[in-house]
Symmetry: C2
Subunit: 306 residues, 2 copies
């Protein structure tokens, strides 16, 4: 649960813009509010933090050291918020985008927002008008149908088999890794392997019911007799923390623990007899390359990250 000291997203954005422009008024103009409103918002934030964030002078404002600290933290929040924004924008149905795409859930959840933000940045940088993208999120089979029927120009699917009649290109892999803390018994084993049966029978640290990773894990282990979770947490960060502290094994998205694995905070365990990896493909109808225009740009963008 979030504390009461968290500023508004727009307030965080304002602070970042103030940092860049060096002026409350200029930042206000950029965000389309009055200078007075900006001034007041910053004051509200300062009350939350308890320290001045902006050093005002009669010819501009710059951040205090505390302010720069907060901006760093705010940056991360805003990066994530930007992806959320891109996702929601692509989801909105009111205006039909110039590019209609469909994507499997995993891709829509973890990868597409980042691609959309990146594509948009690239286009803006090139002086192009950003493409409006309309996304449909559904399962891979349905995505293939939509592409085949011509309802969408581009699809993103997971799974090994190529949908018949469609061309495809690899755009990434999605992998759920099983990890334990470095002092866990499994981490001591020579080859760090366990069987799928053992994993299923072991109480795990999991996300709350309904979360994406948990759903994937449960599906993969559905046929095996399972144990009840040892701990149920509401964020990936909390899961990583608990596992590192030795609470038990967990399955988490590979991208979320890359740092932890590199630093030894977590240890990866190979699970035999269980495939938690999926190849992610862009698919389209027609020629050997995606349709000219934004669709091709998006695929190229995504493929570069694969």
């Amino acid at each position: 649960m979030l504390g009461s000291h968290v500023p508004d997203l727009r307030a965080l954005e304002l602070l970042v813009v103030v940092a860049r422009t060096g002026s409350l008024g200029a930042a206000a103009a950029e965000l389309g509010i009055t200078q007075q409103a900006a001034s007041s918002r910053v004051r509200t934030m300062e009350a939350l933090v308890g320290e001045p964030l902006v050093a005002r002078s009669k010819r501009g404002s710059e951040l205090t050291p505390t302010g720069e600290l907060v901006v760093q933290w705010a940056d991360r929040v805003l990066d994530a918020a930007q992806e959320l924004d891109a996702g929601i924008t692509a989801l909105r149905a009111d205006r039909r985008g110039h590019l209609d795409i469909a994507a499997s859930l995993t891709i829509a959840e973890h990868l597409l927002p980042g691609w959309l933000v990146g594509l948009r940045a690239q286009q803006v940088q090139r002086g192009q008008q950003p493409t409006e993208v309309k996304m449909t999120a559904t399962n891979s089979a349905r995505v293939a149908e939509l592409v085949e029927a011509g309802d969408v120009a581009l699809g993103f699917v997971e799974g090994p088999e190529a949908p018949r009649g469609l061309r495809r290109r690899l755009v990434g892999t999605d992998e759920l890794l099983v990890v334990v803390g470095p002092q866990h018994p499994w981490a001591m084993r020579a080859r760090r392997r366990v069987s799928a049966e053992t994993l299923a029978a072991t109480p795990l640290v999991v996300r709350e019911a309904g979360s994406g990773t948990r759903t994937v894990l449960e599906r993969a282990l559905a046929d095996l007799p399972g144990a009840t979770p040892v701990l149920e947490l509401s964020s990936t960060a909390a899961v990583r923390a608990a596992v590192a502290a030795g609470a038990g094994p967990a399955a988490v998205g590979a991208h979320a623990v890359r740092d932890d694995l590199a630093t030894g905070r977590l240890v990866r365990i190979t699970v035999t007899g269980l495939d938690l990896t999926r190849r992610l493909h862009a698919v389209w109808k027609g020629g050997p390359h995606p349709p000219e225009g934004p669709a091709r740009e998006l695929v190229a963008w995504a493929a570069r990250r694969s």
Copy 2:
């Protein structure tokens, strides 16, 4: 700039809690608002997205597929917001924490909030009362002074030399990497090396003025004749995107491009005659181990990630 479809942080939190509890009323109770308020907030969000997020029934609510998608995105925003919250809470001066610490800017910016969130999660999980931490962010020399004078129980510093009279333990490394796109001339070189002078004289892709990575880079290159940036962008994601697209070299935090390097989207360049790596240490006064209690827990936590 953020679009107008971005829900409030508290609204995102509500959605996440609804997903967990399966009930608007229960979620409302958990967040300390009335069921009607929660209902209204969710409706506001649905108006923003343009699609139903929650499937209401007379015996509970569960998320629609769209809702689950939004929750995934919201999760990331909230994770970052949680770190921001932890940072701000530690910054607030009104109540003196049970643990006084000081940290260099880099550590305070990039690592401490995560550690605080993790420590708190660990303590809550163990049934302990979470430690209130009061953080001071300043430069490494001043941190050492504060620890030596006994003003703080624990310090976090960067730099190779151990402050005299203090004990220390490695808690991580901070590294700025110079990267280029795979098709950049530097990437073609056999050993992928350039000199610090060459780097300084090359137009780079940079974050906006005042950002952390840019400051570090400018300090490191301060003594050399420099070129004006080729592109100035407001997020790390945008910088990575531009570099991958071939806009030019950039210096970015190692953690931010680990994925890109692994996948070949970006290529790392070694810069001779320039040290962009710093060892990060926890320091304290007295015995060979940090003071018993939360200070020791925090160091242990941090060290596990090193």
